[in-house]
């Protein structure tokens, strides 16, 4: 009969040194591989846990299981082609990624973006934020065991995706922004659809709050869990709701406004306690604030073109090609060779639903970027995870992982 003894781990103990404490090497504590295939690691995150009973002694995130080489792929794509790649990184925030990349290209080439396009970008970026927060809330609640919230959130998310489909023809990977503006103007039915959503959604946020915010079980599971002090949050490079949950007032939309965010009125919710519950409250409030921004953008939407008129970088509309020799040449050049931006390096940052999403772009003057790098919040926040998880239980760990809202596509690129 095959006994338990036969199955002793036969690896080299040396491999574990540094990852786990000495106690694990003697067998006093248990080493558990959580992931990469695990329901609550939000993709393919591997956590090497050292457990004393159910208490976490050590937690080491191991990333890279979803590495797709997207950043390297950028180097073989022309600037305009590469927009498509950005959607695939943080697949819950496709338009936010588009925005970061387009802003970087626009900064490099000093392209102007018409006001209508800027407003639409803000509007859609905020809808994307709602979309992302809905997925976060659903999965976070599912991790903590509230199954129904998950399905309610996805029901509402459908409405947002419907709007994306309407404007871009794609539901998730919209690829709607382009350097210099948008792919095309929004269709007529866009405004009523967004207004419908604005009327429909606030009551649903209240519903989620009724199910969770005051629920004693939910509060037991989230309050005082995964504490991150403001100092630590800054030191570990946290941004977005994870940072603001610790009470640090830092929102890029307010601090370094981009894409005309300074035209809009909205509040930045701040937490005081730096725990899972505060991060939860902040994201819920952010959804409400996003709705405010969407409403303002829709009410004050300027008319006019949605793409820059700089023909050196932006292809002319189809109607011009028929009667303008210049337009035909630009069209041909842009679609066969692409544009050649000046040499240089730029870094822009936007507030993604997860935190600061930075895009570094280096150009050598050729039609393809020399190097593109994204500073992605998921990656940075994962490094803060061990700090938050130590001393808590496994059940808390999934709550903490949920509260920093990681997307592995965003982390590994």
């Amino acid at each position: 009969m095959t006994g338990i003894r036969d199955s002793a781990w036969e690896g080299d103990l040396e491999q574990l040194k540094g990852l786990v404490s000495e106690r694990a090497l003697t067998g006093e504590t248990m080493v558990l591989n959580m992931g990469p295939q695990h329901p609550s690691t939000h993709g393919v995150l591997r956590l090497i846990l050292e457990l004393d009973g159910e208490t976490i002694v050590n937690c080491t995130p191991d990333v890279g299981y979803l590495h797709t080489g997207i950043e390297k792929t950028f180097e073989s794509k022309r600037y305009e082609q590469a927009v498509v790649l950005t959607d695939r990184m943080d697949y819950l925030n496709p338009l936010g990624n588009n925005l970061a990349y387009c802003l970087a290209v626009e900064k490099l080439t000093e392209l102007d973006v018409p006001p209508r396009a800027q407003y639409l970008r803000v509007l859609l970026a905020e809808l994307t934020r709602i979309n992302s927060h809905l997925v976060w809330l659903g999965t976070h609640a599912l991790d903590i065991g509230a199954m129904s919230v998950f399905l309610y959130c996805f029901r509402e998310r459908e409405k947002v995706l419907d709007i994306f489909e309407m404007v871009a023809g794609q539901r998730m990977m919209a690829t709607y922004f382009r350097p210099g503006g948008l792919w095309r103007d929004v269709p007529e039915e866009f405004e009523p659809a967004v207004r419908d959503f604005l009327d429909y959604f606030p009551a649903k946020i209240d519903d989620y709050e009724k199910l969770l915010t005051e629920n004693p079980l939910w509060r037991d599971r989230t309050q005082g869990i995964g504490y991150l002090s403001a100092d630590d949050a800054v030191r570990l490079g946290c941004t977005g709701p994870t940072l603001r949950g610790s009470g640090v007032n830092w929102d890029i939309r307010k601090a370094i406004p981009y894409s005309s965010y300074d035209h809009f009125e909205f509040d930045v919710p701040l937490g005081q306690h730096g725990d899972v519950y505060d991060r939860y409250l902040i994201r819920i409030e952010e959804m409400r604030q996003s709705l405010r921004i969407v409403r303002q953008a829709l009410d004050n939407l300027p008319s006019g073109p949605v793409r820059s008129n700089n023909r050196k970088y932006v292809p002319p509309p189809r109607s011009e090609i028929g009667h303008s020799m210049e337009a035909l040449i630009h069209h041909f050049k842009l679609w066969t060779e692409g544009f050649r931006p000046p040499e240089g390096e730029v870094y822009v940052r936007v507030e993604s639903p997860r935190g600061e999403l930075g895009c570094f772009l280096a150009s050598d003057g050729s039609p393809r970027p020399w190097r593109v790098h994204f500073r992605t919040p998921s990656f940075i926040h994962l490094s803060a995870l061990p700090h938050m998880a130590k001393g808590h239980m496994i059940a808390d760990l999934v709550g903490i992982v949920g509260s920093i809202d990681i997307v592995l596509g965003d982390c590994d690129r």
Binding site: D6, S40, E54, G145, G247, D396
Partner: protein
């Protein structure tokens, strides 16, 4: 039945044996067949709570979905890890289903249909019901998987400690009826015990739900934490048996609640038209089951230390107080052993009901005080850590 078998030429002993075997087969088969329908009900109800449609492809309203699933699961390959401890590993799923099927032996379906009307029926329920725990521990230990092991740890802590308030609350209907036989308890409910001792029903349901390991107490198989818990290494029909066992366990809790507190098969005309009692019992059970699914679909999962705190610091003392209060009042009231009609039962029921109202008020007050102190404690702790946060916020700007 025995007479008929003797008529066709069997000896008396053999006739009894065949008749008993047939009875076992009928009760067992009914349990398993009911699983097929019950799982459909559960999935449909859960789907409605979650704004989904639920199974609707196989058969009318998806009624045959469970049969399709059963066929699939039987045909699936049975994968067994090389490193498992074979005996407990293979026994555990059988024990899991068996423990709950054994419970069905003493369930009185109607005034006349009961597998075995044991005079220690309730004791038997408790004893056999805890066999399921052994199955979980066996599965968790023998699978040789760390997730399963954690699940087994949790099982030891959770299932065994929740047995205590459950047994204490079971004593109440036993005391009221003056008998351990389930059939006698049902028959003595001229007014359903739900109205006399609602607090006991609540304690029984909570501890029963925890003992079954169903949400919000589904820590044993908490998907987001320990993937599938004790049955993570099981596949094919072995997993299927755990699934059936778990479902039947949960449903049996509803049946027991219906029997012990909702008057079981009793209802208009149930004594005259025997099969009608069966319908009443099923309806009551399904109602209780519906409430349990409702709770399960609404609440987040409890953490293991909160779960144990709740049990030992709240549920056990409460169930003891409840038992004492009911026992005391029951002893004080005259003629409680002479209750033979609705009119006889009215007085004692009212007294007990009022006592329960007082207890509920006390518990509500105490819970509010507790929550307030808890919050103050948290706030006090928070005030200290909140200060550096503001200092950095200013620096950050």
């Amino acid at each position: 039945m025995t007479g008929f078998l003797q008529d066709i030429g069997l000896s008396y002993e053999l006739a009894v044996l065949v008749a008993k075997a047939l009875g076992v087969a009928v009760v067992g088969a009914f349990g398993l067949l009911w699983t097929l329908l019950g799982i459909w009900i559960e999935r449909k109800v859960a789907a409605r709570f979650q704004d989904r449609v639920g199974p609707n492809r196989v058969g009318p309203f998806g009624l045959l979905q469970s049969i399709a699933d059963a066929v699939k699961i039987i045909l699936k390959e049975d994968i067994m890890n090389r490193h498992v401890d074979r005996w407990p590993y293979n026994l555990a799923p059988i024990l899991s289903t068996l423990s709950v099927m054994l419970i069905w032996a003493v369930i009185p379906f109607t005034a006349a249909w009961v597998g075995a009307d044991l005079n220690v029926g309730v004791l038997y329920l408790v004893a056999v019901g805890s066999l399921g725990t052994v199955a979980v521990i066996m599965a968790g230990w023998s699978s040789n998987n760390k997730y399963a092991l954690i699940s087994a740890f949790r099982a030891v802590a959770q299932l065994i400690s929740y047995e205590v308030p459950m047994v204490i609350s079971l004593l109440v209907p036993v005391m009221l009826a003056g008998s351990l036989s389930v059939q006698a308890i049902v028959k003595s409910q001229h007014i359903a015990y739900l109205f006399a001792v609602p607090m006991t029903v609540l304690i029984f349901l909570i501890s029963g739900q925890a003992e079954n390991g169903r949400g919000p107490f589904d820590l044993l198989e908490a998907e987001s934490e320990i993937v599938a818990g004790f049955h993570i290494e099981y596949s094919g029909m072995k997993f299927g048996m755990f699934y059936v066992g778990e479902f039947l366990h949960a449903f049996t809790l509803s049946v027991l609640t219906a029997l012990l507190f909702l008057g079981g098969w009793q209802g208009p005309l149930a004594e005259k038209i025997i099969p009608l009692g069966f319908v009443y019992l099923l309806l009551k059970s399904v109602f209780v089951y519906f409430v349990l699914i409702w709770v399960r679909m609404t609440l987040p999962r409890v953490r293991i230390d909160h779960l144990l705190n709740f049990n030992w610091k709240f549920l056990v003392p409460l169930s003891l107080i409840n038992l004492l209060v009911v026992a005391f009042l029951w002893k004080l009231m005259p003629d409680t052993d002479q209750i033979n009609s609705f009119a006889d039962a009215l007085g004692p029921t009212l007294v007990l009901f009022l006592a329960n109202v007082v207890m509920f008020a006390g518990v509500a007050w105490w819970l509010r005080e507790w929550a307030r102190r808890d919050r103050e404690h948290i706030e006090a702790r928070r005030a200290v850590v909140a200060e550096p946060a503001e200092a950095t916020a200013a620096a950050g700007d």
